[in-house]
């Protein structure tokens, strides 16, 4: 008889608290936020401006450490409070992918090179990086713009290239901060569909901060944030068993 194996969540946040400033100027941006996202799951973070969504996302992205609490990726603890338990930059390189409201593509690189650079940074040889970069652009439907610089791409195309870059190193977690805010509703939905496809086909956990309630049907679960607290959302797809509101 074999013992049952438990797969750790792709991303786990334990009682995250983030405090900015001190004394009279103290602002608590996150209050005991806990969250688990499984591999292949697409999660939406909703909430008004200033609720703490972006703070949570940057904390989960290991670029803005919490004041207290732990962050684990695939069961490995990487942050304990503001103490790094590993080389965070190297960890981001291998395990995390980012997409933003603006595509934030590097303007002096072509679409293909923007994807390729993420691979080469992770020690993939240039020829292989080029091949995989082209594959990703093909997957996202922008292979025909591979040789164009970002200023020659539409907003939607730029965002697809940004998604390709985020996917380049087959990350465990993709963090997206209002990725459709600069797009029209049609293109916004296309991008959200893309995230859902990426999560389901490639097994990445995707967390999307969004104000766009029109595409919530594409998410496996939704959470709402208010005053630094996280709770299960009321949307079409609300928090399931693996989500724990703080």
């Amino acid at each position: 008889m074999t013992a049952p194996t438990t797969v750790p969540p792709a991303l786990e946040a334990e009682r995250l608290t983030k405090v900015y400033g001190r004394g009279n100027t103290e602002v608590v941006a996150l209050r005991d936020v806990s969250l688990q996202v499984a591999a292949g799951e697409v999660v939406a973070l909703l909430g008004p401006s200033g609720a703490g969504k972006s703070t949570l996302l940057t904390a989960l992205g290991l670029v803005n450490p919490p004041t207290r609490g732990r962050i684990l990726v695939r069961g490995q603890a990487v942050l304990d409070g503001d103490r790094a338990l590993t080389d965070l930059r190297a960890f981001r390189r291998r395990h995390l992918g980012f997409v933003f409201q603006k595509a934030n593509l590097i303007p002096f690189l072509t679409a293909l090179e923007n994807v390729q650079v993420a691979l080469e940074i992770n020690d993939v040889p240039p020829r292989e990086a080029r091949r995989r970069g082209l594959e990703l652009l093909e997957y996202l439907g922008v292979a025909d713009r591979a040789r164009n610089h970002p200023d020659a791409l539409s907003g939607g195309q730029q965002q697809r290239v940004a998604v390709a870059r985020a996917l380049a190193n087959q990350p465990d977690v993709i963090l997206a901060d209002e990725p459709t805010a600069a797009l029209d509703s049609h293109r916004g939905r296309q991008v959200m569909e893309l995230f859902a496809r990426v999560a389901h086909e490639r097994g990445a956990a995707v967390i999307v901060v969004t104000h766009d309630h029109r595409a919530l049907d594409l998410f496996d679960r939704t959470f709402e944030m208010e005053d630094g607290r996280l709770r299960v959302g009321n949307g079409p797809a609300s928090g399931g068993p693996s989500g724990i509101g703080g």
């Binding site: 972006s54 996302l57 940057t58 992205g61 670029v63 803005n64 930059r89 190297a90 960890f91 981001r92 390189r93 291998r94 980012f98 933003f100 603006k102 934030n104 590097i106 303007p107 002096f108 690189l109 090179e113 390729q116 650079v117 993420a118 080469e120 940074i121 992770n122 240039p126 990086a129 610089h149 870059r165 901060d177």
Partner: protein, 404 residues
């Protein structure tokens, strides 16, 4: 993937303009070094080329270049009598400025001891050495005189029979070679009225003495040409150059001359030192300091340019950090651009210098050792200039991307 090259390719116009600016600045630094070397070369050119082993100058002076020296022309004959001396020549040198074709023409008039010295040692690029004792000259090209052209100096006309290249005096004026007699005629030329007044003054002085009164013929002789008065000495020369016999001991010959109380003897090396430590030294130090200032200014400008280029890329650098780029990727991006600007600027400076420096009014000498030293300095400047930008880039937080 080389990010530095891709950034440059994307902002090619800005990079080219920056490189041209740095290149021009480095050309000035290179040129200052060349002017400094040219100053030294010009200063010691004649001493090195004229082929003298010893210089006999007026006693207790540092002539004939560092200060005025006057010695009797017959010192030449006395010098020839010293054991170990193979030959002696008179040295006459002075600068004249005349109008020529409506423009000022400065000539360093150089006397050649005709007939022993006809200028055969000169680096002639056209024409021939002097062929007669009078009315011929060899001119340096910087004077702008053509072969066969005639120029009036004093009361006489001189025909250019030979042309030299790069023979200039310590002041940068072109040299003109004449026989010593002609050089002195040019030097001591006086207007006829001044000659008549001098003769009348001589006559007056003689007739006021008893000797003049009892011997009227003496007073009449005094009123004639100076050359007809045996009591008057021959015109003075600036120095006498001595050539040693093969195998002669220079120290022993110099020791023999040093016992003569009316002259001071210098070796060619000592004459060179006098020139460099005296006449040229202040100009040399001034150019040296100016050069140091230019290097510092270049470093500051390069640092500012690299820093500005880095500021333009801070968002992209933050993005690279966010996706996990190592510091060496960021450092490489900035340092490679700095080195490229430095290297291309240096190459441009050298290339432009090939065309510009020969057109400078004074000699610019670019030596390989100086080029290598400047290359090392540019390399150091490029690295130092990038430090400011690198420091800024390494401090930028990856979440700057999110803030944007």
């Amino acid at each position: 993937m080389n990010l530095a090259v891709r950034d440059i390719r994307h902002h090619l116009a800005r990079f080219v303009l920056t490189t041209v600016g740095i290149g021009l600045l480095l050309m000035i630094v290179m040129g200052m070094g060349g002017i400094y070397r040219g100053l030294i070369t010009e200063a010691i050119l004649l001493v090195d080329r004229i082929g003298a082993d010893l210089w006999l100058v007026q006693g207790n002076t540092r002539g004939p270049f560092a200060e005025i020296s006057r010695v009797a022309a017959n010192l030449e004959d006395r010098a020839r009598a010293v054991p170990g001396v193979a030959g002696a020549r008179r040295f006459v040198s002075h600068t004249v400025q005349r109008a020529h074709h409506g423009r000022p023409l400065r000539i360093v008039v150089q006397g050649l001891s005709w007939p022993e010295d006809r200028g055969a040692w000169l680096p002639l690029v056209a024409g021939r050495p002097l062929g007669q004792a009078h009315y011929e000259m060899i001119a340096d090209r910087t004077l702008g005189l053509a072969l066969g052209e005639t120029i009036q100096l004093g009361k006489d006309h001189y025909t250019v029979v030979g042309l030299t290249q790069g023979m200039v005096g310590s002041g940068g004026d072109g040299l003109g070679f004449f026989s010593v007699a002609d050089a002195q005629a040019i030097q001591f030329d006086e207007p006829p009225e001044a000659v008549r007044l001098e003769r009348a003054a001589r006559f007056e002085r003689v007739t006021r003495t008893d000797l003049g009164r009892v011997q009227p013929a003496l007073a009449e002789r005094g009123a004639g040409p100076a050359a007809d008065i045996p009591a008057l000495g021959r015109p003075l020369v600036s120095a006498v150059m001595v050539t040693l016999a093969p195998g002669a001991d220079p120290a022993a010959v110099a020791e023999a001359f040093s016992r003569w109380p009316d002259v001071t003897v210098y070796t060619t090396a000592a004459q060179r030192d006098l020139l460099l430590s005296g006449m040229v030294d202040k100009a040399r130090r001034q150019l040296g300091l100016f050069r140091v200032l230019l290097v510092i200014i270049s470093a500051i400008i390069m640092a500012l340019i690299i820093y500005t280029l880095t500021l333009d890329k801070l968002h992209d650098i933050a993005m690279l950090k966010l996706i996990g780029a190592r510091n060496r990727v960021i450092v490489g991006l900035i340092l490679q651009q700095s080195l490229l600007i430095g290297a291309l600027g240096y190459g441009l400076a050298w290339w432009l210098g090939q065309y510009a420096f020969p057109r400078f009014p004074r000699l610019v000498v670019i030596e390989t050792a100086d080029l290598l030293a400047l290359a090392a300095i540019v390399l150091a400047i490029s690295v130092l200039a990038s430090l400011l930008g690198i420091g800024k880039a390494l401090r930028v937080e990856p979440n700057k991307v999110l803030a944007a």
